[in-house]
Amino acid sequence: MRVSVYITPKAGVLDPQGQAVLGSLHSLGYTEVADVRIGKYIVLELEGADPAQVEARVQEMCSRLLANPIIEDFRFEAGS
């Protein structure tokens, strides 16, 4: 089973990387871009078929290891 995890900087937390990319996009002429936030996209391949159980486990992995709850939010979904 494949689970996709999306990790984003928490709202209000500085995202210097996003800001630098925004600046670069503007100077390349993509002035229609108003904001950029950069996070992580993690694809997990797991054994286990029971979706409820997988979900509980991934939830745990995210909050313990994959995301840094102090500065990041996460969500995930089965499939990629």
């Binding site: 990387q17 630098a20 990319v21 670069s24 950069i38």
Partner: protein, 231 residues
């Protein structure tokens, strides 16, 4: 010989390269701001180490779009000498002036220490004055893990464009001597015409006795030698 050291926002080895060229090599040197586009005064353009644009997104990804890089492309195409050290190498790779890409070190840690490097080709503008098989030069990077597809690697090898490989002190190419996971222990490569060099180690950091090692000087001397012999 006249060098131009490019300054990107976030470059931090610009002053070091400038210092060595001026004070140790006793050559003419100027800073080139990333927004400048006229490289005609220079015989060699240096893309120094550092964290251009914070290395955000990917190392070198944003810097490659600086106005100066368009000129560097033309300068290189016309046969001008271009050396990219560390972040400079990453920028050259992102800009497509050198093949391959530099991924995160397999240790996932920044590594700053001396490494041994076997010199694979001494018939180039960058290595013609190297008089020993193995050079000792420091690295300092987080993304020095060189990758390229098989075909590219074959071609680099065939054409003698791999100039430096991580080795042990005797020159053996071993897995233990590979600090960052680079394919085939590659530490430095040249362009087809050998006028563009990208390397992860920092020759400017070991070009003076007081800093403990002077192997880096052999690379700088090679460039000057190449130039003075009339290319």
């Amino acid at each position: 010989m006249r060098f131009g050291v490019v300054v990107f926002p976030g470059s931090n080895c610009d002053a070091d390269c400038y210092y060595v060229i001026k004070e140790v090599l006793a050559q003419e040197v100027y800073y080139v701001w990333h927004q400048e586009t006229d490289l005609s005064p220079y015989d060699c353009v240096v893309l120094p180490g550092g964290f251009s644009y914070g290395d955000y997104l990917r190392c070198g990804a944003i810097a490659r779009f600086s106005p100066v890089m368009e000129s560097v492309r033309g300068f290189a195409a016309a046969g001008g000498l271009v050396i990219g050290i560390c972040n400079g190498f990453q920028i050259l790779a992102e800009a497509g002036l050198l093949p391959g890409a530099l991924l995160r070190n397999t240790t996932l840690r920044f590594i700053c220490r001396y490494v041994d490097l076997r010199v694979e080709n001494t018939g180039t503008p960058w290595t013609n004055s190297v008089d020993r098989k193995v050079l000792r030069i420091p690295i300092a990077h987080n993304e020095g893990n060189f990758v390229a597809d098989e075909e590219t690697l074959d071609r680099l090898n065939r054409e003698g464009r791999v100039l430096l490989r991580y080795s042990d002190p005797e020159g053996n190419i071993t897995a233990e001597a590979n600090p960052n996971g680079a394919a085939q222990n590659i530490a430095g490569i040249a362009s087809e015409n050998f006028n563009v060099l990208g390397l992860m180690p920092h020759p400017e950091r070991c070009s003076e006795d007081i800093l403990g090692h002077t192997d880096g000087l052999t690379i700088w001397r090679s460039v000057v030698n190449h130039f003075e012999r009339g290319n």
